[in-house]
């Protein structure tokens, strides 16, 4: 038996097919979800993919958050369903208040696309259990609005509770507070990050490495063993 992992397509989602591919390569069953459809089709976990949903108009993720599919996802995420938000998906998660904080425009004001080194700061989440604590991984980063920010109290809380999941290494690419690249909720089922693990799952494309595979094998193991 395997696990069903859904990937939502919003209008303007771009890395949705890549996330579906990564789910499949990890051995789980990929399920395409549509933004207008409240039904999650019995998936066990959801990936909110990268892209520019609704053109990032108004504010990245601000419109997608109100889509029908998100109503169900927000409700089930609060009940413990694992959700991974990648880049624009992370922005949707903060707009939905499933994760704290917000993303500002990169401090250098340019889109940035690069191979980014990260450190796994918390391997206790639903999406990171296949990594070693402190493991350094290379994951592509590509965004315009990637500078994570939150008020000091929230940051202190995230740090104190070990909810910073990934930190940028070898230079901060966007000015995010405390080099934060990704965070989790208190329960550890909802994870958001700016870099794109789905583009580091095959040796021949993307970064040429497979450091991103762990996200998808982590969730598969957790769901199958549940």
């Amino acid at each position: 038996m395997t696990a069903r992992v859904g990937v939502v397509t919003f209008p303007g989602s771009l890395d949705d097919r890549d996330a579906l591919r990564a789910v499949k390569l990890a051995g789980a069953e990929p399920v395409a979800l549509w933004h207008r459809d409240k039904d999650l089709h019995q998936v066990d976990a959801v990936v909110l993919p990268g892209g520019f949903s609704y053109g990032d108009y108004l504010r990245a993720g601000a419109i997608s958050r109100f889509s029908p599919v998100m109503e169900t996802i927000i409700e089930q995420a609060k009940g413990g369903m694992p959700v991974l938000g990648i880049c624009n998906g992370f922005q949707v998660l903060t707009e939905s208040h499933l994760l704290p904080g917000a993303m500002l425009r990169n401090n250098h004001l340019h889109f940035v696309c690069k191979d980014q080194k990260l450190r796994v700061e918390n391997n206790g989440t639903a999406w990171t259990s296949d990594y070693a604590q402190g493991q350094e991984i290379m994951i592509p980063l590509k965004n315009m609005d990637g500078r994570f920010t939150a008020d000091r109290r929230t940051i202190d809380e995230l740090e104190a509770e070990g909810r910073v999941v990934f930190r940028y290494l070898d230079g901060n690419p966007n000015g995010s507070i405390d080099d934060i690249a990704g965070i989790t909720n208190a329960a550890g089922n909802v994870v958001g990050l700016m870099p794109h693990p789905e583009h580091a799952v095959e040796p021949i494309v993307g970064t040429g490495g497979t450091d991103g595979t762990g996200f998808f094998t982590s969730i598969l193991k957790r769901l199958v063993n549940a």
Binding site: P11, G12, L14, D15, R17, D18, R21, G50, G51, F52, Y54, G55, D56, Y57, H110, F111, V112, C113, K114, P140, K142, M144, H196, E198, H199, E202, I204, V205, G206, T207
Partner: protein
Amino acid sequence: MTLDTVKNAEQTPDVELPWAALGLKEDEYLRIREILGRRPTGAELAMYSVMWSEHCSYKSSKVHLRQFGEKAPQSDAMLVGIGENAGVVDVGQGYAVTFKIESHNHPSYVEPYQGAATGVGGIVRDIISMGARPVAVMDPLRFGAPDHPDTKRVLPGVVAGIGGYGNCLGLPNIGGEVVFDSCYQGNPLVNALAVGVMKHEDIHLAKASGAGNKVVLYGARTGGDGIGGASILASETFEGGTPTKRPAVQVGDPFQEKLLIECTLEAFRAQLVVGIQDLGAAGLSCATSELASNGSGGMRCDLDDVPLRDATLTPEEILMSESQERMCAVVEPEKVDAFLAICEKWDVTATVIGEVTDGDRLEIFWHGEKIVDVDPRTVAHDGPVYERPYHRPSWQDALQADAPTAERLARPATGDELRASVLALVGSVNQADKSWITSQYDRFVLGNTVLAMPEDSGMIRVDESTNLGVAIATDGNGRYAKLDPYTGAQLALAEAYRNVAATGAKPLAVSDCLNFGSPEDPEVMWQFAEATRGLADGCLELGTPVTGGNVSLYNQTGTEAIHPTPVVAVLGVIDDVTRRTPMAFAEEGQLVYLLGDTRDELGGSAWAQVAHDHLGGLPPKLDLDREKLLAEILIAASRDGMIDAAHDLSDGGLIQAAVESALKGEQGLRLIVPDGLDPFVFLFSESAGRAIVSVPRSEELRFTEMCGVRGLPATRIGVVDGDVIELQGQFTLPLAELREANTGVIEALLA
């Protein structure tokens, strides 16, 4: 203002129309009157003026472009040739690939961000209208002098526009070029290429057949942007002191275009479409007249049904508007509901605006009155054709005589001088690392990018199960073409061909973007004639047909034209992308071989520009048979695992390529000057038909035997080793020092 209907035009033959302001010449206007047998209505005049503009009708270039068809090599790979939205090439396993390069030069000078952004949008719509899913874009760019203040305005805007549009559209940007030269000061070149993939059975052509079929306009609403863009902007030279033409540049919305891609491909998959045409230059005028003239019947449209962004637009403006992100589909009546449902699913506005008719007329109505009644072929295909006079420029002989000999230009002689020259070259703006630009483009999206800049060509996996892939490179060298346009065009072709082969792919087909000055200048026209002749001859000899492309003329300010700049894109196929050859020399101990012959060829070279700001003499000689042989060797060596890395030699010569491969692989090189070669010539000559490769020791014998048997000179010039580049007996350069010189150059310019 009263509506200028067809009836009104018949009754008021003497009304003066603003044909000159719309960019028409007097004889062209008279010809329109002759075709119609009356004066045109305002709407008809608008249509003819845009469709007969240089940009849309190719009136000055047509007589020369014919050679691409007449001299086309026999190729089994061609599925659709010149004349459609984009050519289509068979890449095997049932897949077809369509690709095309276009210019968006003038708009990008006026409004860099939107000009460049909509250039990407336009070329992508050409690809989707063929039925293909776009899979990548590339952008060859040319800017003015690096230290000119206007370059600081144009470059960041163009780069942000390409990134802003392409990234939001979700297409990986996998290559291109960035060149600086003061000749492009008032006329930056912003060329855009897109490539798409489909199955053979999914190829669609733009035509409107079958009386009763509906014409559906879908995508963005029509607004006042870009009115007259094609006729005014792309077809007239910029003159000082005239009012700003900013409103003629279109504004792009990549989010809308993303929806358009998904919606169009879904409609194709559901077999709901007879024909499709994107709305680019000349907007609805172009789409309706081209669809109708490529089909079997006529067409009638009601402009009242066109969804508008601005309700005050006149019918003439609606016809001329170049609002972006619009497409026109011809759909059988019983399939219209299903088509509209797909548009609704993707939140795309779609409206039936007309239908295909039995007759042979294109009729357009406004408020129930007929305002256009023309034979669509006279609008779309029977535009004027000019045999523009041309002659060899008076200065050409003197330019070619000014060769960069050792007597004319001082050459570095000692090890220290050579070392300093290498640092100056790799730190010069044209040879420097371009990652400030390319890091603003998403190269990962869609998950099939095998190679991207700065590799010799971009490579995309087409099939995830078989690993079939395509590679594309674009190249052009205006300096070579200025010295000799015929050879310069062929050198651009040869370089792109070589770049594709260097990554292990077999070159199949060509698309070209011909950027020149004013065709009304006989000397510019000679450059154009020579370059097209050279390109057509070259394509014939290499066996790579031209599948389509674009001509951009009037790239000049006053009497000062740009260097003639034919940019050539070559597309190749690779059966197994896991065999691709990257450029990085990454394995210590591997042997470095130089393939090809090195001669004292410095005319138009990067060294001459960097060291002496000199342009003169002749460009490198070209031997197309040698290029073919080199390509075959590079492909075979890749397929059979004989080489681990390869890098083509072009501007900057051997040392530039060696430094790039070493920096990318983070490994040093110990190099030896081959017997009989002068160290300076060895390092800086730009002789064509060459590449450097990195060969595992275990493969050396097999590789050199293959080269020997095939008759390709292969010279062992060194070994991958250490963390310096050393030229034995001459100089040592630490990688760190080279990296410091090579990076941060663009940032420093813009700071």
